[in-house]
C-alpha cells in the first residue's frame, strides 16, 4: 500500500519529493514511535487518574514544598516555547536567510510546548473541576491571571505564525498530493482557504507575517517575564529578586536553541532532509547557542553573586543548600554540564558538527530542566520561620511515581504533537525562495556546502 502510493505519486521537483514523501507513506519506525509515546501517555493518564481520585496526596508535595515538579515542568515548557519567536521574529527581522528552513519547526515546537504548559498547570491544580473560575471569578491583580492572558495571546500568535508560514505549502499539498486519504485531502482543502499563490495574496501574506513577527517579540518576552513574576512577587529566598525576568528569558532562549538543534538532528536523520538542513546550519546554531548561553551565564552570575556574598538569613541558607548542601550535585551538574562546558566546547568548530552538538544540546536541555527544578523546589524549603511541628514527610521532597509518570507523559505529549504536525505539514518550505523572492540564491549555496 505504502510503496504503491509513493510510486503513484508524482512530484514536480526533487525538493518536493524529499519533503513530501514521508507525509504520504507511513513507515514501521513511525508507527513504533507513536506506540512508544502512547505507552508513556497511558501510564501518565493512570497516574493522573489516581491523582484525581485521591487528591494531590499522591504527590510528594506537602505544606512547605507546596509546588513541585509540575510547576518546574511548566516553567520549562514555557521556556521551550520562546524559541518560536527567536526564529520567526528575531532572526527573520534581521534578514537571516540560513534560519528560514527552521522557522516552521520552531513554530511547531512553540505551539506544542505552550499547549503542554497549559495542560501541566491544570494538572497542578488542587481543584481542576473549578478551572473556569479563573475566567468567571478572575481578579486582575493576580500574576496567575496575567500569565493566563499572556500565554493564551502567545498561543494564538504562534498558531497564526505557524499557519501563515505553511499556508502556501498547504495549497501545494492540496493541488499535488493525489495518493492520500480523503480526510487529508479535505483537511488541506479547508486549511488552504482558497490559496492560489496570486501575487496579491503573496503581498498580503508578507505583510501579515511582518506584523505578526513584530507583535510576537514583546509577547514572547512578556510570557516568560510574567512566568518569572509568579516567583518574583513573593518573599521566598531565590525568588525575591529583580533579576528574575531577564534571567528566565535568557535561559529560555538558550534552552530553545538547544531544542531546535536536537530536533534538527532528528528530523534530518529520520526524514532524510540532509540537503536542506546542512552542517552549516548546525555550525550556525552552535554559534548562536554560545551567544545565548553567554547572556544566560551573565544573568546567572548576577542571580547568585549578590546573595552569596551577603549570605543574609534564609537567603544564605538557600545558597548554602545549593552550593554545598543537598542540592549541590544537581546544582553543579546544571551549571557546569548544562552551561559552562557547552559554552567552552561549542567554541571549537569540531564540536559544532551534527553529532557532537546534538549530544551537547541534550546536556543543555537536561540542565535546563533541572535548573527549573532548582529554581522552584529548594526555595520552598527555606521559609522565614523554621519548619517544626509537622509530619516528617513534610521536610523533604522526592517526587512520587505518579508525578514522574505525569511529567514523562507531558514530554510524550509534546513529542506526539510535534510528530503529528510534522507528519501533516511540510516541515521544510517547498518553495526555495519561500516568501522573499529576492533571496533565492542563498539556499543553493547552502546546499553546495554539503
Amino acid at each position: 500500500m505504502k510503496k504503491s502510493s509513493i510510486v503513484k505519486q508524482k512530484f514536480k521537483t526533487q525538493r518536493e519529493k524529499d519533503v513530501l514523501s514521508h507525509m504520504i507513506s507511513t513507515s514501521l519506525k513511525y508507527k513504533l514511535w507513536i506506540a512508544f509515546l502512547f505507552l508513556f501517555i497511558v501510564f501518565g493518564m493512570y497516574g493522573y487518574y489516581r491523582q484525581l481520585r485521591y487528591g494531590l496526596i499522591v504527590t510528594a508535595m506537602r505544606d512547605f514544598t507546596s509546588w513541585g515538579i509540575y510547576i518546574s515542568n511548566f516553567v520549562f515548557f514555557v521556556a521551550i516555547s520562546l524559541v518560536g519567536s527567536l526564529f520567526s521574529s528575531i532572526l527573520k527581522l534581521n534578514d537571516n536567510i540560513w534560519s528560514k528552513p527552521l522557522i516552521r519547526v520552531s513554530e511547531i515546537i512553540a505551539v506544542s510546548a505552550i499547549i503542554c504548559a497549559a495542560v501541566i498547570i491544570i494538572v497542578d491544580m488542587g481543584r481542576p473541576d473549578r478551572f473556569f473560575y479563573v475566567i468567571t471569578h478572575l481578579r486582575i491583580q493576580s500574576p496567575i491571571i496575567w500569565d493566563v492572558i499572556i500565554i493564551s495571546t502567545y498561543l494564538v500568535i504562534s498558531i497564526l505564525l505557524l499557519f501563515i508560514s505553511i499556508l502556501p505549502d498547504i495549497a501545494i499539498c492540496r493541488d499535488r498530493l493525489t495518493e492520500i486519504p480523503k480526510w487529508k485531502k479535505r483537511l488541506y482543502k479547508i486549511m488552504a482557504i482558497n490559496w492560489s499563490n496570486h501575487p496579491k495574496q503573496l503581498a498580503k501574506l508578507q505583510k501579515v507575517t511582518k506584523v505578526l513577527a513584530i507583535t510576537i517579540l514583546p509577547v514572547a518576552f512578556a510570557i516568560h517575564t510574567v512566568t518569572s513574576w509568579l516567583f518574583a512577587t513573593t518573599w521566598r529566598p531565590g525568588w525575591d529578586s529583580t533579576n528574575l525576568g531577564p534571567y528566565f528569558v535568557s535561559g529560555a532562549f538558550m534552552a530553545g536553541a538547544a531544542v531546535i538543534i536536537i530536533s534538527m538532528y532528528l528530523i534530518r536523520k529520520h526524514l532524510n532532509l540532509k540537503p536542506y538542513i546542512t552542517e552549516s546550519h548546525f555550525d550556525k546554531m552552535g554559534k548562536l547557542l554560545v551567544l545565548l548561553s553567554l547572556v544566560y551565564l551573565y544573568f546567572n552570575i548576577n542571580e547568585y553573586l549578590g546573595p552569596a556574598f551577603k549570605m543574609v538569613g534564609v537567603e544564605g541558607e538557600h545558597i548554602t543548600e545549593l552550593f554545598v548542601g543537598n542540592y549541590a550535585p544537581m546544582y553543579w551538574f546544571v551549571q557546569l554540564g548544562g552551561l559552562i562546558f557547552p559554552v567552552i566546547l561549542l567554541m571549537f568548530r569540531w564540536f559544532r558538527k551534527p553529532i557532537p552538538i546534538f549530544i551537547i544540546s541534550v546536556f543543555v536541555i537536561l540542565g535546563a530542566w533541572f535548573k527549573r527544578y532548582l529554581i522552584v523546589i529548594p526555595s520552598m524549603q527555606h521559609p522565614y520561620l523554621p519548619i517544626q511541628g509537622v509530619d516528617e514527610s513534610y521536610l523533604h521532597y522526592n517526587p512520587t511515581w505518579e508525578e514522574w509518570s505525569i511529567t514523562f507523559a507531558s514530554f510524550a505529549w509534546l513529542l506526539l504533537i510535534i510528530t503529528v504536525l510534522i507528519k501533516l505539514f511540510p516541515v521544510i518550505p517547498l518553495q526555495e525562495d519561500e516568501l522573499d523572492l529576492e533571496n533565492s540564491v542563498e539556499p543553493n549555496s547552502l546546499k553546495n556546502e554539503n
Partner: protein, 303 residues
C-alpha cells in the same frame, strides 16, 4: 483495618448528631437541644483523640462543640461591622503547653501532623535564650496571600480578618508560596472525619474540602457571639490576648487590658515588620519570663 473503619463510622455518627443539632439551632429551636445526647448517659461513643488514640467516652461527657450561626460564603466576605480584631501574644508566658493547638485542631477538625497553630522553638542568636513562639495566621492588613489569589477565594474583611472560601478555591497554592509566615496548610487528600452533611462556612473553616487551602481564621463564629476564640480561652497561662483595635481593649480570658498600654509598656512588636505585610498579631518580647525554657517540653513540638 476493620476497627479503623468502625471507629471513623462512629465518629461520623457522632458528628451527624451534632450537625442535626446545629440545624435546630439555626431554625431557632435553641442550641441546647443538642444536649439530647446527654440523656442516654449509659451509651458510650468511641472517639479519636488529637493524639490519634481511640478512646471510649460516655455520651454524658460529650460536650456539644458546634459552630453556632451558619454564615454563608457570601455573607462571610463582609466582616463584623465596627470591629478591627487584633491579637497580642506574650512570649514571656508561653511554656509550650499546647492547649491552644489541641483545641484548635478539635474545633477545625484537624489532624496533629498539620495544625493551624504551631508553637515554634525560636532562638534569635547563639547567645540568646530560646523561647516558644505560638504562631497563627497574622491576618495581615497588607496580605500577600490575598493579592496573589487569582479567583478571590481568599479575602480581607472589614474587621481585619483574612478568610478562605473553600468553595471558590481552585487549589493553585500560590497563596502558600506567597505567605512569608507559612501560615497556610493544604488539604492534599480527603480531610479525615469529615461530616459531609454539615453546611460549609468560611467562618468556621469546616468541613474542609479536598484540594483547597486552610488556615487559622480567628474563629469568627465565636466572635459573632461576643466570645473569644478557642485558643485564647484554652491557654492555661493567659499567653494570648484578643480584642478590638477600635475599642483599644484586649483580653486573655482572665484580665482585660488597654491594647495601647500593653503594647507601650511591654514593647510590643510585629514579626518581620520589614516585609510591610502589616500583621494584626503583635508579640511581646520574652523578658521576665513566667517559666524557664523547658527542654522536656521540646518533644512536644515534634508530634
Amino acid at each position: 483495618m476493620e476497627s479503623k473503619n468502625s471507629m471513623s463510622d462512629s465518629r461520623r455518627q457522632f458528628l451527624k448528631k451534632i450537625s442535626t443539632g446545629s440545624v435546630l439551632a439555626v431554625t431557632g429551636l435553641g442550641i441546647y437541644a443538642v444536649s439530647s445526647c446527654k440523656q442516654t448517659s449509659e451509651e458510650k461513643t468511641t472517639l479519636l483523640t488529637p493524639e490519634g488514640k481511640l478512646v471510649q467516652v460516655s455520651n454524658s461527657e460529650i460536650q456539644e462543640f458546634e459552630h453556632k450561626n451558619h454564615i454563608s460564603p457570601n455573607e462571610s466576605r463582609k466582616g463584623i461591622p465596627g470591629k478591627k480584631f487584633v491579637m497580642v501574644v506574650d512570649l514571656a508566658k508561653c511554656k509550650n503547653a499546647r492547649k491552644c493547638v489541641k483545641v484548635c485542631d478539635k474545633h477545625h477538625n484537624l489532624t496533629p501532623d498539620r495544625p493551624y497553630i504551631k508553637v515554634l522553638k525560636m532562638q534569635d542568636n547563639e547567645k540568646s535564650s530560646p523561647y516558644w513562639m505560638p504562631k497563627k495566621c497574622f491576618q495581615c492588613d497588607n496580605p500577600p496571600c490575598v493579592k496573589v489569589c487569582p479567583v478571590g477565594a481568599t479575602y480581607k474583611r472589614s474587621d481585619g480578618i483574612v478568610l478562605i472560601d473553600n468553595e471558590r478555591c481552585i487549589g493553585c497554592r500560590f497563596c502558600m508560596a506567597a505567605c512569608p509566615y507559612s501560615a497556610r496548610i493544604f488539604n492534599w487528600g480527603t480531610p479525615p472525619n469529615v461530616d459531609k452533611e454539615a453546611e460549609y462556612s468560611p467562618e468556621t473553616s469546616v468541613p474542609s474540602k479536598i484540594g483547597t487551602v486552610g488556615k487559622c481564621d480567628f474563629c469568627p463564629d465565636m466572635l459573632r457571639n461576643n466570645e473569644l476564640p478557642h485558643c485564647i480561652t484554652a491557654c492555661p497561662n493567659g499567653v494570648i490576648y484578643f480584642g478590638d483595635e477600635i475599642d483599644d481593649t484586649v483580653s486573655n480570658g482572665e484580665e482585660t487590658v488597654r491594647l495601647s498600654t500593653l503594647l507601650k509598656d511591654k514593647a510590643g512588636y510585629r514579626y518581620l515588620e520589614e516585609l510591610g505585610t502589616k500583621p494584626r498579631v503583635y508579640y511581646l518580647p520574652p523578658v521576665d519570663r513566667l517559666f524557664p525554657f523547658d527542654k522536656t517540653n521540646q518533644e512536644n513540638s515534634e508530634p
